[in-house]
């Protein structure tokens, strides 16, 4: 195993732990705001994980999926926030 492979395993371990924690907050959170924060965090962790997976598979085209997530991921959160505010 090379140096980069060790780094990849450690990074995937931490990211899966992060996904589990935010899923716990999503299932438990008392109000709608907590659940939306969990969705936002999950989106960012997923974007980073997709880029790292693209490096592991060595495919340049796979970065485009992460790019679309980065552009569109926050629209859902903003729409939910505007609805909660009562302004939509």
């Amino acid at each position: 195993m090379t140096y980069i492979e060790y780094i990849e395993y450690i990074a995937f371990f931490f990211m899966i732990l992060g996904i589990v924690f935010s899923a716990y907050r999503f299932l438990k959170g008392p109000t709608a705001g907590d659940r939306t924060v969990a969705l936002d965090t999950l989106t960012t962790i997923m974007v980073a994980g997709l880029v790292l997976l693209a490096y592991v598979f060595q495919r340049f085209i796979y970065v485009d999926v992460a790019l679309v997530y980065g552009v569109l991921g926050f629209i859902g959160v903003i729409v939910i926030a505007r609805y909660l505010e009562g302004a939509l």
Partner: protein
């Protein structure tokens, strides 16, 4: 993903179910990605995250948020506690 799907069915509050749908589409897109189908994952990301959430939120705004009056009272009690 299975947990979020079961939560979306069982939840009495429709807004929580819509947020659960966002989580489901997020993890489903990651699954398509792992199965080496990036074009399907791209479409799933674009439609599931943005379009579905907007349409469902506009529908909730024009109708009701809770399934019946009893759920609404329970929700208000939880918030004020």
């Amino acid at each position: 993903m299975i947990g979020a799907a079961i939560y979306a069915i069982l939840s009495k509050d429709i807004l929580y179910a819509v947020i659960a749908t966002g989580v489901i589409s997020l993890i489903l897109s990651g699954l398509f990605y792992l199965l080496q189908a990036p074009d399907v994952a791209l479409t799933e990301a674009a439609i599931g995250v943005a379009l579905t959430t907007i349409i469902f939120i506009i529908t909730i705004r024009n109708t009701v948020r809770f399934e019946d009056e009893h759920d609404k009272k329970e929700h208000i009690k939880t918030i004020e506690k």
